[in-house]
Symmetry: C3
Subunit: 352 residues, 3 copies
């Protein structure tokens, strides 16, 4: 977002973050950006040594830099020198981009069913639909077109971006953020054969999202068939993730984009999953486990283990196996040489 | 969903499903759940022997269990004993969770174009938009915000959950369920080079979804460029699936979450695809074929075959190749031993 | 879409595309389709020799065919013979399916915030929401329920299909098409550990989509944290793609369905990515690089290179390694034969 017409100088900002202005303290500064994209009225963030090579070509008006590497930066003369640039940038961003003022209140086009309970200072955007028996906690914000079906509940200080859909009876905690297009409480993918063809297993279970969770755009979470699907507190799900029925995701786990979990999987606390990784049904994954991008987990993973590949194996084993796989041509040559030395394998069957 | 204040006893429910109450027949029961999540007023489902180990720690008020394994279950004394617990649970769920009463009728905020044809007892939720020449069959339900574009048709007894979009001219059969965020009839990904840069191939073909299909949340189905995209009857698609232009999916096929099909693929009847699997354009996959999770099919698959890996191969071959790949270190050592025995390969070129 | 009641003859159409009618020039023709799906009033497209085998069983009323292969087609006697059938089909499709007349204007249910700027002949469908300070250029069309948040801008002649969401401050170019359910400018997946648990990195950067871009249904594009996410002009993104924060996608690149990019990736111009492929954070991919379906790129890719597999390698190396992997059983047998010849490995440790 374009920063507003706020007038700050390098010196003002140094005072704000408890840092030191070097060079032109009166330089007007209007934003913070990456070194590559910063312009003459921006602070360019020199977060660590790996970005030093970008300084000479940066058009930043000034550097935001630590004491430690300041001397090694060449080419931009104005600086805001601080102890920890990453901490300072959070303060500065809050300063340049104050939280938008949301016009609290219920938009006249929002539709509320019977027995809807709204906390204090709830915001409902245009065309929001809350069906019967829905509860929304204090200060929560539901943006345009969000639909909360019958009996679903949202805690305090939570946010649903435009176009979120909660199926009936879903429970969402407090301080939880649902990005645009999130679907929670969908019927799971469960069918049984029957005489008249495939029969759907009823999905009447619950779907419970904890506190302080963030769920990325267009992510889908199925409800339990019976029993529950649960996302633990502080879990973070990226865009386009799929969570099957009766899955539990432990507190503080990170699921990167396009991750997918089949049904009835138990994922421990503080696990980390790379993009496009997946896990088969009924697998148990221990606390703190880590899974590489695109890995496919088909068996239980012990706590703290790191795995990769399909079917997923310990990452050290995977890396060795892949390295060996790319050296197979050489191994085949060595075997050929042995065969020649022993006058074996010369029957023409070998294609080498 | 929290069960309502329905008053049932273990004895009542035994009569309902033609089973036998053991223990306290007057015990009030308010729902059915998994053994792990059941509470003191729930029946806990002991579906088969694999769940026996969960009984001692279950807080279920009573077990739903078969004659056959009843004697082996310890720790929960009240039981509802039946011939087939999986069948009984479907009856019980219907009892505890009667189908919600939908307030049939057209919500006053629904917008209908010209020449829209609605069957009897159609339900249109808030903010539904039906463009010109749309047809919706008897008893179909379109939930909030669903958009049906010009000339599209939906059969009888079908359901579109909130936020479904059908592009112009799409045809959806009867008794078909479209979950939230489904997009049907999207332009395919087809471009041709031209003198003025890339040119889009017009997508004027059809997109036809059969009867008794279920399509998961946020799944996207492209229309034909010319010709048709077709999803056969009784096919089941999970969440976040992608179907390219001019694909045909055979009747009764199961496509798990995040499956993706490139254009012009022909998928036979009763195939099964694991999560995150995919198939390249113009491939033909025979009836009853099965594809492992994350597999990438690049060549035709004969009927009844099971494949895995990328590029996908017969699953037996894949499993053997992977096993051998993880034993390569051992094979390399054996080759090294042979070289030593023959005094070969000692030139230092080998890194082992 | 069913062709309207337009009356054309084979002869008329030959005149239209500068071709030659063979057989019954008075045959009424109502559409163009694939050979497999064409009926007796359709032209069946015989695009190249690979479709010759479909002619004998086609029910097409006439063939659309080149001079070159006309003589080799048997079974359909009426023909429209042209120099280039693929070019002719674009003309014919435009004729049979004229662009729909859009009722320009702002639907009375569209909601406009303060200081919204609309160009000439802008179309806003039912229930569109434009927040404060939004700009929409001349002749752009925003279909039902699309939401454009505060300060976002759309150029001229662009289209947003139903249910698109643009987050605050997003910039979309001219002649760009956003399919249903696209989310642009989402907060990226960035967190840092802190004393009170995980802390979200503010995402206040920009998100800029160029001119002549097309973005598939339900695709999600994150904004920059600081700095920018950029999609270059003429880039084409398929359905269900994920683009992380601070990524740049070069002009004219093609990203097939379910592609995913982690954060801060630099993708060059005119690259091509297969379905379900992905790339890890901070990777740099050169102009014209090509990535196979399901490949996972973890290291920089030079311009013009083609890679496959996970972790991605040059496609030639990948293909050789896979081929060798599937011949490992044979290699193991050869090693066993050598061991026998040398009386090695007979200790029973070997499992073969």
């Amino acid at each position: 977002m374009a920063p507003g017409p706020v007038d700050h100088t390098l010196g003002d900002l140094a005072a704000l973050v408890g840092g030191r202005a070097v060079g032109d303290a009166d330089l007007p500064i209007r934003g913070v950006s990456t070194l590559e994209q910063a312009g003459p009225t921006d602070l360019g963030l020199l977060a660590d040594r790996s970005f030093l090579s970008e300084v000479p070509t940066s058009e930043a008006g000034a550097l935001l830099v630590s004491e430690e590497i300041e001397r090694d930066a060449v080419g931009v003369l104005n600086r805001l020198v601080v102890t920890n640039p990453r901490e300072a940038v959070v303060v500065l961003l809050g300063h340049f981009h104050p939280a938008p003022i949301i016009r609290a209140g219920v938009h006249p086009t929002a539709i509320l069913g019977d027995r809807v309970s709204l906390g204090t200072d709830v915001t409902l955007g245009p065309y929001v639909v809350l069906e019967d028996d829905v509860t929304v906690g204090d200060r929560s914000v539901l943006y345009s077109h969000t639909v909360v079906r019958q009996g679903a509940r949202i805690g305090d200080d939570s946010v649903a971006h435009p176009h979120v859909v909660l199926y009936p009876g879903v429970v969402v905690g407090s301080r939880t953020v649902l990005h645009s297009g999130v679907r929670v409480g969908v019927d799971g993918f469960g069918y049984t054969p029957s005489i008249d063809g495939t029969k759907k297993i009823p999905h009447v279970g619950q779907c419970v999202i904890g506190d302080d969770v963030e769920i990325g755009a267009n992510t889908c979470i199925d409800r339990g068939s019976i029993g529950r699907t649960e996302i633990g507190e502080q879990a973070k799900l990226d865009n386009l993730v799929h969570i099957g029925h009766n899955v539990s995701v432990g507190a503080g786990s990170f699921l990167a984009a396009q991750f997918g979990s089949a049904g009835s999987v138990k994922i421990g606390a503080r696990t980390m999953w790379g993009g496009q990784s997946g896990v088969a049904d009924h697998v148990v994954v221990g606390d703190g486990a880590r899974v590489a991008s695109q890995a496919g987990v088909t068996e239980d993973v012990p706590a703290g283990e790191t795995v990769a590949g399909f079917p997923a194996r310990r990452i050290g084993d995977f890396n060795k196996a892949v390295a060996a796989m790319y050296r197979l041509a050489e191994l085949r040559q060595r075997v050929r040489a042995l065969e020649r030395a022993l006058k074996l394998g010369s029957s023409g069957k070998s294609t080498e």
